[in-house]
Symmetry: C2
Amino acid sequence: MPDILQDLGYLALGSRLKRLAERLQADATQIFEQNCFITQPSHFPLLAALDRYGPLTVSEAVSALGVSQPAVTRSLVGLVDMGLAETTVSETDRRQKTISLTEAGTSAVARMKRDVWPHVARAAEEMAAGPDGSLLDQIARIEAALDAKSMPDRARDGHAIIEYSDDLAGAFYDINAEWISDMFTLEPNDIAILSNPKELIIDKGGQILFVSTGGLGIVGTCALMPVKDGHFELTKMGVLKSARGRKSGEFLLAKALERARAMEMNSLYLLTNRKCAAAIHLYEKLGFEHDATMLDTYGQRYDRCDVAMSYPLETLTA
Amino acid sequence: MPDILQDLGYLALGSRLKRLAERLQADATQIFEQNCFITQPSHFPLLAALDRYGPLTVSEAVSALGVSQPAVTRSLVGLVDMGLAETTVSETDRRQKTISLTEAGTSAVARMKRDVWPHVARAAEEMAAGPDGSLLDQIARIEAALDAKSMPDRARDGHAIIEYSDDLAGAFYDINAEWISDMFTLEPNDIAILSNPKELIIDKGGQILFVSTGGLGIVGTCALMPVKDGHFELTKMGVLKSARGRKSGEFLLAKALERARAMEMNSLYLLTNRKCAAAIHLYEKLGFEHDATMLDTYGQRYDRCDVAMSYPLETLTA
DNA sequence: GCACTATACATAACATGTTATGTATATCGG
DNA sequence: CCGATATACATAACATGTTATGTATAGTGC
């Protein structure tokens, strides 16, 4: 059986880290047991913090450990039960408890520091060391990135590309029907392509991409449609009116051109109309050039067509 | 408050990964909730595996997910309760259950694949992407390293260096007393140094290192003792008889010389006796050279001394 | 062919994280 | 100075991982 978490890549980053962490923690339990110390690795961070920073209040420990307050309280209870730590109520603020190591705790930490920790640190470093720099630096960077912007926020913002699948045929139709019937009228050629995207585009070696925003779902699409002999038309590109102004179209077009460059096509052109000023501006921005030849060759396909552009594939693949 | 897990570095790798994973999983819960899907991210790996690999038996799912069988069973119960999966008892082996997606499950996965997963993957990649190469590659390397050799095994094997602290004064005495009284006799100078390591070595700017093996604890020691004017003696180096044959001495000496090179000393010499053939061989191996001058200058310090060697600091710092 | 062992999954107990909420104490505004 | 609010910690409930063990079925050796 393959490993699904590995297969899913970054999508399963959280689950995979969790699995790895569980494994390391299980190993840590075993190491502690072998060395006749505390059996629960959950106690380790608090013990280390008390050793390194001296007596702490519960709140301070929460901040130092970066976990929830009940988690600290539970660790604390464990350490007290084992006689390794004790608490005293603060004189100045009777809500606060100060945690400190008992004599037994101090000597246990000293023994661990001497006999166990150096070996665990060495073993972990040995495993994590690689050609790609320090794993700890990467973790620190991710923690900082999460502090700056949470995963849900990141997932909501920004765009993602989704490949064509049959259940997206409806979206392909609807997104294009919206703008075409809004500015022009749906022509027979439009309806043919929009109704049979699989047969007329995918099965002939073309591609249909969709752009999705985290908050709104699929908001745009475009197609690279093979015409003949390795000549492709960029067509049926649209973004829902309700989702405009987020640069979804630019993101989509950039990704589509990335695909196009990888497809080793002979030429890539598009047909449009002077009325589509915003679209033409975008095409120009991403490298399309006005091309009267293409207008002569392919322009009769649509009544509305009075502009043709082509994409200089060779200059960008160089 | 500083972050103890960050402070501890590789020693706390497991705890830190766990904390990060918990955080990512909490974020994942939120993302799923926002998109009105299953609320528990724990179901996600099984769902993804069923989608990608088709119907699976529980055992196959255990293998694909890389978690324990009860964890899979629990995910399974969850999915069945939500009507997303169903099980059928195998015809050929009535112990086996085959898990497959229901129609509702299939369409839920399709929607997630379309509306949520691409954004989660993009967000995770965006966070994890850095100058140090792929985090996923590092995780994969750690998983492979763990497969090859568990953490407890790694912690047990190999050596670690431990710095001097007062509670190690006894070990410093005992380790040296063992070999000296075994081969020679403890001289007054030995007893003075072994009884006052802090005053005579540490406080004068010297260093005392210990080598620990994961299985046996501290098994050896050596000292870099300042004599005068930046001249240092490598002395009181010994490994417990019971721990010989593991190259602990070589590891320790190599680390000590690393320190010595970083200390900008004027010279480093050692005194010994022809009887210590194994030790002399080791000194030669790591770069010490026989040096009659040093014997004349310092040789009278010990009755047993009839060999002196010095370490070519300049050639190795170059 | 039957007792023994192995395998597939279920269940129990528990480790350890979380969020939500309770309780005692401190603080603050009128 | 007193009631409202905030803070520090405790506790409850639960999510999700584990190991240990139970139960039914399959396979195996005499």
